[in-house]
Amino acid sequence: MNREVSIGHMKSFFGTRWGIISVGAVIGVLAPVLQKLGNPGNMGVCVACFQRDIAGALGLHRAGVVQYLRPEIIGFVLGSLIAAYCFREFRPRAGSAPIVRFVLGAFAMIGALVFLGCPWRAMLRLSAGDGNAIVGLIGLIVGIWLGTRFLKAGYDLGRSNKTYASVGWLMPLIMLGLLALLFVFPQAKGEARSGVLFYSTKGPGAMHAPVAVSLIAAIAIGFLAQRSRFCTMGAIRDLVLFRIPHLFYGVLALAVFAFVMNLILGQFHPGFAKQPVAHTMHAWNFAGMVLAGLAFCLAGGCPGRQLFLAGEGDGDAAVFFLGMIVGAAFAHNFALASSPKGIGAHGVAAVIIGLLVCSFVGLTMRRKA
C-alpha cells in the first residue's frame, strides 16, 4: 500500500511543472559537467552527435574524428527501461509506419549534422555562448512549425499494436550488446582500432568522459526523462499547436542551468567564430535544423525522446533510432555532414531532398476526416 502511495506521488511530481523543470535542470547540470570531464565542446550530451559517433565506432562510416561507442546513448535507453519497469509503464508496441519512421530518422540525422547538433546540443551550444545556435534554434522552430501545419491538416502515422515483450526488449538488448562490445574492446591508448570497434585518436571522437561516469549520468537522465516525458521537439510543438507550455519549461530549465554551469566551469565563450564543433554558415545552420525539426515533428519526438520511448518498449521509436544511425553513416560517407570548416560537399542537396521527402510524407499520410 505504502509503495503504491509513494509511486503515485512520484508519478504526480514528474507530471507537474516543477517535475519537468527539475529534469531539465538535471540535464542542464550534467551536460556541462560531462564536458568538463572529457566530452567534446558544447556536446555534453548531444544525442545526434553521439549516435553519429556510434555509427563511426561500428565502422558504418569511416570519418576518423567521430568514432566512439558513446555510453550516453546506451544509458538513456537503459535508464528509461528501468523507470518503465519500476512504474509499470513498459508497454511493448510496434507497427506504426516503421519504414516512414526509419526514413524520417535518417533525414533528421542528416539535417542535424548539417547544423552540427540535435535540439539538445542547440540549447547547450546557446548556453555556452555559441551565437550560431540561435540561427539553428530559429530553424528548429520553423521546422517544427511546418510539422504542426501537417498535423493540423490531418497528418498521422497510424496506430501501433500491442506486441510481444521481446519486441520491446530488442532495443535495450541492442544497447546491452553495444555495452558488451565497449567492455570487451576498450580503446588502447593511441590506437584507432580495438577488435571490431573503431576509435578516434583525435577530434571530438577522441574526447570523452570516463565510461562509468557517462553511463551512470545517462542512466539517471534516461530514468528521469522517461518519468517526465522530457522532449525538446514536443516542447516547441505543444506551444505552437496547443499553447501548452508544460514541456517548454523543461527545455528552458536545461538552457538556464547549463548556462549557469558553463559560467561556473569557465566554459562560456560568447561569439560566432571558432566555436567548438560548429560552423558559421548561417543559412545552412538554419536550413539543416528546419529539416531536423520537421522530421522530428513528423516522427513525434526529438532524438532523446525517441530513445526514452524505445526504452519503454516502443519498437517504432527504435526504428527511428536505427534510421538515425544509417542517416549518420550516409551523412559522412556521402559528404553531407558539416565540419567546423563549413557544410559538406553535398549537404545542400541532402537538405533539399530531405525537405522534399518530409513534405511528401506529411502531405500524403493524412487521416480521412
Binding site: 509503464e89 506504426s96 502515422l157 501501433s160 500491442k162 516525458r229 496547443f242 517504432d316
Partner: protein, 72 residues
C-alpha cells in the same frame, strides 16, 4: 451517452489533437477518450483541463485507459 474518441495505438500528439477537435465540436457535455499509454493519459488530461474541462474518471481499459472528461 458520451461522445467517444478512440486514440488507442496512436502516439503523441494525436490523442491530444483528436480530443481537442472533439471538444471544439461538442462544446460541452461528456467525452470518453481511449488511450494506450500513461503519457497520452497525462497529455489528454492536461489539454482537457487547459480548455476548462474536468477529468471525471480514469479507468483501465484493456491494456490502456478509458478517460471520461466533462464540462457542464
Amino acid at each position: 451517452m458520451p461522445e467517444t474518441v478512440d486514440a488507442s495505438g496512436l502516439s503523441c500528439p494525436q490523442p491530444v489533437i483528436m480530443t481537442l477537435n472533439k471538444i471544439k465540436e461538442v462544446d460541452k457535455g461528456e467525452i470518453e477518450v481511449f488511450v494506450d499509454t500513461d503519457t497520452s493519459k497525462e497529455n489528454v488530461s492536461r489539454a482537457a483541463q487547459s480548455q476548462g474541462w474536468d477529468v471525471a474518471e480514469i479507468t483501465k481499459s484493456g491494456t490502456g485507459y478509458r478517460m471520461l472528461i466533462k464540462k457542464e
